[in-house]
């Protein structure tokens, strides 16, 4: 049983609505059944399952796309799977764009050379756009929201639920949007990546996070330091000086490793004292 392309998972959220403003030219709906799309969507959550330094996401892309390709004639099906299992890299949450677009290209019988060229061209944008929006934008924002709840005295269950709830609304919606827009647009998916969420979202999230961080940092530190409030001024001074050093020499030293080294010295001092 076949029917036109269906939308996988929830399609609410900023990413989904913003996508409507960046419509590609709709092609002829490729015949796909709901189960194949739902399976591909579910598999997207494991797209990095065999991530490695040689093919990176390559095998994962073929693994996610496989249910969508089952309607191809046998020799085309195997050739498509072989093509899609080669080197590929993208942000995992936007891998659905590649899976959908490339599957659509294969189902529409596009020239394999064109598919491979498109596949190569897609790696960079899907990586950089996703890294900036999710890892450098959405994730720190959600962390700060949850830390804000902690700072205001929320309990363990509330803090965890707030963090996971807020973060995954965006996460699940972005994956669903990616697969949907990929399947709909095929090899004409590029304009969708120029929508406002991707263009302006990272900067907007950075500005909101800057305010939020300034607001919650003193409150969160106060809850952590507890009875040591008398040293709050010293802590703040150390933090400012340390942050400047880290920001200045950040390329050469990661903060958590530096913290581990300093903590090791402190633990040693506390034991031998």
């Amino acid at each position: 049983m076949t029917e036109p392309i269906v939308t996988p998972g929830p399609d609410s959220g900023a990413a989904a609505s913003a996508a409507e403003s960046a419509e590609c030219t709709p092609g002829v709906a490729a015949p796909l059944n709901r189960r194949a799309v739902a399976t591909a969507y579910a598999r997207l959550f494991a797209v990095q399952g065999s991530w490695n330094y040689e093919t990176m996401l390559g095998n994962g892309i073929a693994f996610c796309m496989e249910p969508l390709l089952r309607r191809l004639p046998d020799e085309h099906y195997h050739a498509a799977l072989a093509r899609q299992s080669r080197y590929f890299n993208a942000h995992p949450y936007l891998a659905g764009v590649a899976v959908g677009a490339l599957a659509r290209g294969e189902l529409d019988g596009e020239d394999p050379v064109r598919i491979e060229r498109f596949r190569t061209a897609l790696c960079g944008p899907l990586g950089s756009v996703g890294d900036q929006l999710v890892w450098a934008g959405w994730l720190p924002f959600c962390s700060l929201v949850a830390l804000g709840a902690f700072a205001l005295g929320a309990g363990p269950l509330a803090v965890v639920c707030i963090f996971l709830g807020v973060y995954n609304v965006g996460h699940v919606a972005l994956r669903a949007w990616g697969l949907r827009v990929g399947l709909r647009c095929g090899l004409r998916v590029a304009p969708s990546l120029a929508n406002p969420v991707f263009r302006e979202g990272p900067a907007a999230l950075a500005r909101i996070s800057a305010v939020l961080a300034g607001l919650i940092l003193p409150l969160a530190l106060q809850r952590i330091i507890g009875p040591g409030r008398v040293l709050a001024g010293s802590v703040a001074l150390v933090a400012v000086v340390g942050a400047v050093i880290l920001a200045r020499f950040g390329a050469r030293a990661t903060g958590w490793r530096a913290a581990l080294g300093l903590l090791a010295i402190f633990v040693f001092y506390s034991v031998v004292r």
């Binding site: 959550f45 494991a46 399952g49 065999s50 991530w51 490695n52 330094y53 040689e54 990176m56 073929a62 496989e66 498509a80 799977l81 072989a82 890299n89 949450y93 890294d131 720190p140 959600c142 962390s143 830390l147 363990p156 269950l157 803090v159 965890v160 996971l164 995954n168 990272p202 500005r207 800057a210 939020l212 300034g214 940092l217 969160a220 530190l221 106060q222 952590i224 330091i225 507890g226 040591g228 008398v230 040293l231 802590v235 150390v238 933090a239 340390g242 942050a243 880290l246 920001a247 950040g250 903060g255 958590w256 490793r257 913290a259 300093l262 903590l263 090791a264 633990v267 001092y269 506390s270």
Partner: protein, 231 residues
């Protein structure tokens, strides 16, 4: 006794570490691996979620720095949060050294676990190379097999890292906390200063490219300090 219950729960705790470690990269990336979550759940396993949350918040401030970009090497916070949360919640309440020792244990685990991820990725490449011919022939069974083996190996990696870290570091942390020689006020101040330093550096790195972000941070800082003084 908390200690006995923790030792008895070494297997379930390692399973929790396995799930949290798997979530970091392989499946499903819903951020169970963030220390705020993994440390709190580990604390809940020991019966003290509040202690787990306190350490989780400290580690989350440090984890703001972690940007898991592609092939870069970064801390694996899933297992680290579980081990740190278990150590934090497993110590006697009110001990001065509990928070710094738990933080040290978590960061040490993160370093070890980060290396284990490099090993896993090398192993995944080896596995894919081993069946390259079948993959190049477009065999769906082989492609799914490579994926499932990668997921399983990552699950085992998380279990082993958590199990070994707890087995070695939990008894050690008890010994260290027992002979801790710095008072609670200064111990917490050191932890807070380190977390604040890394967090502030991370926030600067994340936001400074946006226009007026520096001023917005200062604005927020003034509001936060005012709220603090009003409390």
């Amino acid at each position: 006794m908390i200690t006995e219950s923790l030792l008895l729960s070494l297997i379930p705790m390692s399973l929790l570490g396995a799930v949290a470690g798997l979530d970091m990269v392989s499946f499903p990336q819903i951020m169970l691996s963030r220390p705020l979550v993994s440390s709190t759940i580990a604390g809940a396993f020991v019966g003290r979620p509040g202690s787990g949350l306190l350490l989780g918040a400290v580690l989350e401030l440090i984890a703001l720095e972690t940007l898991p970009f592609g092939a870069s090497r970064y801390a694996e916070w899933g297992t680290a949060g579980v081990v740190g949360g278990a150590v934090m919640a497993g110590q006697p309440a009110g001990s001065a050294g509990t928070l710094p020792v738990a933080m040290f244990v978590a960061l040490a685990t993160a370093m070890f676990s980060s290396s284990s991820m490099v090993w896993l990725r090398t192993w995944n490449a080896h596995e894919a190379r081993r069946v390259r011919a079948a993959i190049d022939a477009g065999s769906p069974g082989v492609i799914a097999g490579v994926q499932l083996r990668g997921l399983t190996t990552d699950l085992i990696r998380g279990f082993v890292v958590t199990f070994v870290a707890l087995l070695i570091l939990f008894p050690l942390s008890q010994e260290v906390v027992a002979v801790w020689g710095v008072d609670a006020v200064h111990s917490r101040a050191v932890v807070t200063a380190l977390a604040a330093t890394v967090a502030a550096g991370a926030i600067w790195t994340l936001t400074h490219r946006a226009a007026r972000a520096g001023w917005l941070f200062v604005l927020g800082l003034c509001a936060g300090t005012a709220l603090l003084l009003l409390q």
